[in-house]
């Protein structure tokens, strides 16, 4: 196995050597370019410092921390039910998905399980957040590559999904709907019919995107063979979600672990791609949006009856212990390591967010690429700032 850390060090030395070489041969010096923290192409306040040799990146370093809110510390002075309001804000495009692993970890420590209907609705809302999140990615991807139309389509169709989430939870972006032992409320009347229509619209949206973007020659030439991440490297950096599957690693936490969610009751496919380039990452996300609509459709058909809340005490004390639960969130593996001392609040919560690992590979993957590819690679890695900084 290659020692990547050494290669990282070597790349830094190479960057300095390149500087020296430039000085000697051309009497020019390398240029340092700041991308961000405020830049239209960086989805927020991620700053990337790149060192350029002409058009080529010789060294790149992301600088996170412009949005660090200290959630790990804040959880220590909250009670368990209060924590969901915090973790909602980690990945703000797929908020409901952030609540689920934390609630599951608390339920694991309390040794209770949500009723089947609650598990079904949880899974539906989880997949709806995935669709809302990833459809915006597909639109945004177009903007980053100079195509303006897809983003309007994405916002148009994401609106339907957000309306669905709002009709259930009352919140468009921050549902705060998941409770220890179940859900706050049942589905509203008419949700199932409405949801099926929206899923049909979203499948049309995916087809549109496939025609408009993925079949486009410019799009392909901007992404094919760019930013290749081999499977070995992806695993060492802990890449997850579509980024990992695009490198050919067949790993999906929805399928590969048993959690009290309804994924084992539906038929769906985990897509992988052998290439590991930017195109593969985007393509996997498109396919996953399609699969998510299929999952939601099947779950709507098999919705069990019954309560949506298990019997839990009014004042929730979580027994002493440690639990790790992670789920396959829109951005990748999102997990919580919860340490409880038997109090009302957690003793320590380690939040493992997907984007933190996904962005930590940036220095490795940007080395040697050309400036226009920097933007397309960052777009294809797909991160949410709140998910990096927490």
């Amino acid at each position: 196995m290659t020692d990547i850390a050494d290669r990282q060090k070597l790349s830094y030395i190479a960057a300095q050597a390149a500087d020296a070489r430039l000085n000697v041969e051309l009497e020019t010096e390398g240029m340092t370019l700041n991308i961000g923290p405020q830049h239209p192409a960086t989805h927020g306040t991620l700053r990337i410092i790149v060192r350029l040799d002409g058009e080529q990146v010789i060294w790149a370093e992301p600088s996170a921390g412009y949005m660090h809110r200290g959630y790990e510390k804040l959880t220590e002075v909250r009670t368990f039910p209060q924590v969901t309001a915090l973790v909602n804000r980690i990945d703000w495009l797929g908020s409901f998905a952030n609540e689920v692993p934390f609630i599951l970890a608390a339920e694991k420590l309390m040794e209770i399980e949500a009723p089947p209907r609650a598990q079904h609705i949880r899974t539906i809302l989880f997949e709806l957040s995935r669709i809302a999140n990833v459809s915006l990615f597909l639109g945004d991807l177009g903007v980053q590559l100079g195509a303006v139309t897809p983003v309007f389509m994405a916002f148009r169709d994401r609106e339907h999904v957000l309306n669905l989430i709002e009709s259930v939870t009352g919140g468009r972006f921050h549902p705060n709907f998941d409770r220890i032992g179940g859900l706050k409320d049942d589905l509203p009347a008419g949700f199932i019919t409405e949801c099926k229509q929206v899923m049909k619209k979203l499948r049309n949206f995916c087809d549109e995107m496939e025609d408009l973007l993925f079949g486009n020659e410019i799009f392909q030439s901007r992404l094919r063979g760019i930013g290749v991440i081999p499977a070995e490297v992806a695993k060492q950096y802990g890449l997850s979600g579509a980024n990992l599957r695009a490198s050919g690693v067949d790993w999906d936490l929805r399928r590969d672990q048993s959690l009290p969610l309804a994924y084992d009751k539906v038929e769906w496919k985990v897509w992988t791609h052998p290439d590991g380039d930017s195109f593969a990452r985007c393509w996997i996300r498109l396919q996953e949006t399609r699969e998510a609509t299929k999952i939601v459709d099947q779950l709507l058909d098999t919705m069990p009856a019954g309560p949506v809340m298990a019997k839990v005490p009014r004042i929730i004390k979580v027994p002493e212990g440690e639990a790790w639960v992670s789920t396959e969130n829109p951005l990748g593996e999102m997990g919580y390591y919860v340490v409880s001392k038997g109090d009302l609040g957690p003793f320590r919560v380690k939040i493992r967010s997907a984007s933190f690992n996904n962005v930590s590979i940036v220095p490795w993957v940007l080395r040697g690429v050309y400036v226009p590819d920097v933007i397309s690679i960052l777009a294809s890695l797909y991160f949410i700032l709140g998910d990096i900084d927490r």
Binding site: R314, R352, S360
Partner: protein, 222 residues
């Protein structure tokens, strides 16, 4: 010479597989493996000595086949000296004392020091993960870096360093990730006060007032 676990050991399901992981680590590390805990049908925790931290990472990667790096972070087992107003909603908020109570209660797989580093790695082929802990010596506050084992540990160790003040020997660049360079203190240590709570204490009982007429909540509370 690295001998991978035989396929037979890892072909076993569930807890037998977790026992196989622990015995593989014991074989490779000997007495450096201090403790282990297997929760049936759940998960496996192991604790190694600080000296064997990096070697344990290598064993996990090469022998046990956990080549997927999940996360690395720190734990501070000191009980918070500032109390938590919401611990018992029926009691008034406790007096806030700044006196440090040196009583350490470690979690799963034990521990003898205030700080621990812990990490999680996953075997993607066999679908299991291992949580590994190590005591951080109280005098040096440092362990060996995992960057040469799992490249992804780089940022996690930087984060752990600024939040807990734990050093990682051999890390290429332990700059602050989130905090300003001249920030003093380590925010995730238990004796680092959360300023917002010091300025305005938690209202306590006002938040969890019982519902009117609700006397059905007696049975669930043990």
């Amino acid at each position: 010479m690295v001998v991978p676990l035989s396929d037979d050991t890892l072909a076993l399901p569930g807890d037998a597989l977790r026992e196989g992981v622990v015995s593989a680590l014991r074989e490779a590390l000997g007495a450096q493996l201090l403790d282990s805990l297997i929760k049936p049908n759940d998960d496996v925790w192991v604790r190694v000595s600080a000296e064997a931290w990096q070697q344990a990472g290598r064993v996990l990667r090469d022998t046990v086949g956990c080549d997927y790096f999940c996360f690395l972070s720190g734990l501070d087992w000191l009980p918070s000296p500032f109390g938590k107003g919401e611990d018992d909603p029926t009691a008034p908020a406790p007096e806030r004392s700044t006196e440090i109570v040196p009583k350490i209660e470690p979690g799963y797989a034990g521990g003898s020091t205030r700080f621990q580093v812990f990490a999680r790695v996953t075997n993607l082929a066999k679908h299991f993960g291992v949580t590994i802990k190590a005591d951080v010596p109280d005098d040096s506050f440092a362990v060996d870096s995992w960057v040469s084992v799992y490249a992804g540990a780089n940022w996690h160790e930087r984060e752990c360093h600024e939040m807990f003040g734990i050093g990682f020997a051999g890390h290429p660049d332990l700059r602050n990730m989130y905090l300003p360079t001249d920030f003093e203190g380590h925010p995730l240590r238990k004796d680092f006060p959360l300023l917002a709570r010091m300025v305005k204490p938690w209202p306590g009982i006002a938040d969890v007032e019982p519902l009117p007429g609700g006397d059905d909540d007696g049975e669930g509370e043990a």
